[in-house]
Subunit: 146 residues, 2 copies
DNA sequence: TATTGTTATACTCTATAACTATA
DNA sequence: TATAGTTATAGAGTATAACAATA
């Protein structure tokens, strides 16, 4: 019988989580990339340049994603108050509503994944996971994908 | 200061792992979708229909992915021995070599993520992760994404 | 000179629908 | 009738390169 390794478990987690999120986004009429952009707008109006950095894609991409979100009524482009080259992307009222529901969904994820787990078990899990994430981050830096 | 929750940690893990894998695949001249297809071929020659089910995409997609992998010399199409409608996709020698190196990379991932961790800690982590994965799987079934 | 965002172009992944060959 | 895979068509995400406006 094929044994399940911790690495298998992690990969399975990634796969399931991706499917779950893609499903949620689709239900909201969003793609993953657009949902990601909306998520970044939590921090307030943002230039397209900053969005490109946050999403790790080219500025050209942001143009397309923002175009889509403008068409769907979730965001608007506004003039930057001091830099006339730059454009600020900001949430509309419906966009802010959607982001709120996304935030609620994110909070509920804690209950879905960990609800009812003993505090000690959850704490231990978090400690180990923290180490794993740190190792992975270090590896990316090593590989120059920092 | 913004507190890091276990859900944040999980999301960070997913994000980092995706970047790491995309980087590895790109280094091998593969996209994520093509790497996934190659991975499925571990189990031997496979019909395109079975690949479509495994990758959860439409048969039309498999045509495109296989076309790409044929062009890059990683796989070949072969006649199905008994069903003349079906096509078997099989690894070439270079494709098998690449898959071997992917398998090695997968095995090394254990060392990257968990190397040097005490057995007890790793075992506890695996137990909790198993529960979390089960919960997530149950949720997908509930949502009808089974 | 450097930066911001756009137009132009191209590639990949994805989907649906219609079709052919076969079962 | 149903299934396997293709052609046709379309939309979304991604990239590079060239460009205009502004810093």
């Amino acid at each position: 019988m094929p044994e399940t390794t911790p690495v298998d478990q992690v990969m399975e987690l990634v796969s399931l989580l991706q499917r779950d999120m893609a499903h949620s986004f689709a239900r909201d009429g969003l793609t993953e990339a657009r949902a990601h952009l909306l998520w970044v707008l939590q921090d307030g109006p943002t230039t397209q340049r900053a969005l490109a950095d946050a999403l790790r894609v080219t500025p050209r991409n942001i143009t397309g994603l923002v175009d889509g979100l403008v068409a769907s009524g979730h965001v608007v482009r506004r003039a930057h108050p001091t830099d006339r080259r730059a454009t600020l992307v900001d949430l509309t009222e419906p966009g802010a509503d959607l982001l709120r529901s996304m935030t609620e969904g994110y909070a509920e994820m804690h209950e879905v994944l960990f609800g009812g787990l003993p505090d000690r078990e959850l704490a231990a899990f978090g400690r180990t996971l923290g180490r794993v994430v740190d190792r992975l981050r270090a590896r990316l830096v090593e590989e120059g994908i920092g």
